[in-house]
């Protein structure tokens, strides 16, 4: 098809006008090195984490970041313990991330490899961010692809025998907007759609269904979970942060989640940041979360194979959790030392209170006298508190 010169001129004019919206340049974050230690205790689990992160610019436009993270797990969550012994495991995660800036656009490409004895995950992430409208607005688009290999340890903690059960893939599509509203107020919104396919159930968790006490004195038997092999979810978050006149910041965020498994969840967070002189920053955070149960979830099914899909994973149960978090950051070298232009140390304490609406504690309670004499389906609802401690040192150069 032949395009007329007049039509080409119009197209060129539109292209030129669109380019006029773009002016100025984005800036890469500071070079830094972080050392991180953490512990999580709660719900029968003891997890320690250690991490090292290094970020370095190689030019005004190009930076690289490398992160190594190790999780050491001792114990297991209650629905695993109800039918298995305590486990010990270690997860190693390595991430390499590249940032490139061209004018007002920042591109990020990262690759993460996560390895446990019975679970291997490889994740590739790409995103781009564009500043526009006088740098008041930043639009971000992201895509993430994960390929996971799922296995089960049929041996002991010290003599593992891994059986590889299958694969699962996950793809995520994310869009975000950050907007400066006033000289004191910034707001943002994010939407993320995630689709999974493959083996999506946890092989260590079981359902339970009623049986006659003559078959099992407990009045129930355990069986394998059966999950759908697809899962799609949508999450949307809005948030805002306000600069208070006496140099402090207050933030609020709300996230709504829904998925094809019937789960609907709400998350609300409030945050407050108070610096004191140039050496200390104190932060507090409150978080409330609630969700209903998945459509194929039940704490106690009426009989074996009562429905096509069955789950008793506590993550799919109706639950609420409340978090209170406090963090203090100390700039112990605000003017720098050696090659570092500044350095900070942070200590963060988090308490999370979990309560379940339809997941019962069958590890500690059952129909026997020692178990409290609870008939199946009347055991106390499960609840636990978790404490998380984080300590990290950040050095900027």
């Amino acid at each position: 098809m032949r395009i007329s010169p007049r039509h080409l001129c119009r197209l060129a004019a539109v292209a030129t006008l669109s380019m006029m919206c773009v002016a100025g340049a984005a800036v890469l974050p500071d070079d830094r090195a972080d050392l991180f230690w953490s512990t999580y205790r709660g719900g029968g689990m003891d997890i320690t984490g250690e991490s090292v992160l290094v970020r370095k610019k190689f030019s005004e436009n190009f930076a690289m970041e490398a992160n190594y993270f190790v999780d050491k797990v001792s114990g297991a969550s209650i629905d695993v313990l109800s039918q298995a012994s305590v486990i010990k495991d270690e997860r190693k995660q390595k991430t390499l991330s590249l940032d490139y800036i061209h004018d007002k656009t920042q591109y990020n490409l990262s690759y993460t490899d996560s390895t446990e004895r019975d679970y291997i995950s490889n994740t590739t992430h790409f995103s781009l961010s564009q500043d526009m409208f006088g740098d008041l607005t930043t639009v971000t688009l992201g895509f993430t692809d994960s390929r996971n290999k799922v296995g089960e340890n049929n041996g002991g903690t010290n003599t593992p025998k891994i059986e590889w059960l299958g694969h699962a893939t996950s793809r995520s599509y994310e869009g975000g907007l950050s907007q400066i509203l006033t000289k004191n107020l910034i707001a943002g919104a994010t939407v993320e759609i995630i689709t999974d396919q493959g083996l999506l159930s946890n092989p260590y968790r079981s359902i339970r269904y009623r049986v006659d006490p003559s078959i099992n004195p407990l009045g129930y038997a355990l069986g394998s979970q059966v999950y759908p092999n697809t899962h799609t979810s949508t999450a949307g978050e809005v948030r805002a942060k306000y600069y208070l006149p006496y140099r402090a910041a207050a933030s609020v965020s709300y996230r709504y989640f829904s998925d094809t498994w019937g789960i609907r969840a709400n998350t609300i967070e409030l945050g407050y940041t108070q610096p004191v002189s140039n050496k200390w920053i104190f932060e507090g955070r409150l978080r409330h979360y609630n969700q209903n149960s998945a459509t194929f979830y039940s704490d106690l099914f009426p009989f074996a194979n009562s429905q096509n899909f069955e789950a008793r994973d506590q993550n799919l149960a109706a639950s609420t959790n409340n978090t209170i978090d406090g963090k203090v950051t100390w700039a112990f070298a605000p003017s720098g030392f050696l090659i570092f232009k500044r350095a900070t140390a942070s200590f963060d304490v988090t308490r999370i209170q979990f309560k379940y609406g339809d997941f019962r504690n069958i590890k500690d309670f059952n129909v026997t006298p020692a178990g409290g004499g609870y008939q199946p389906g009347t055991e106390p609802l499960y609840a636990f508190d978790a404490m998380v401690y984080q300590v990290y040192i950040s050095m900027f150069f």
Binding site: T95, K183, I186, G188, Y243, Y289, S394
Partner: protein, 74 residues
């Protein structure tokens, strides 16, 4: 005027309109927004770690601003 030309002119007008939006917060008024306390997440490892805890214990996920690897966290 042909329809395609009208559409091109209308689109250019919209773009010109967007370009003509003057930033209502001038660059010299953004010192507070550039304060480190106004960053969404100053510490990526800490934020990612807490998000990982919540994703391992909750049925929801996504729209948290962090992207990490999967895990078979029990």
């Amino acid at each position: 005027m042909r329809k395609s030309a009208m559409l091109a002119v209308a689109g250019a007008g919209l773009l010109l309109g967007a370009c003509s939006i003057q930033p209502w917060v001038k660059p010299y008024e953004r010192d507070r927004l550039a304060d480190p306390i106004m960053a969404w997440d100053r510490d990526a490892i800490s934020a990612g770690y807490l998000d990982h805890i919540y994703e391992s214990r909750e049925g929801s996920r996504g729209a948290t601003g962090t992207a990490g690897g999967g895990c078979g966290c029990n």
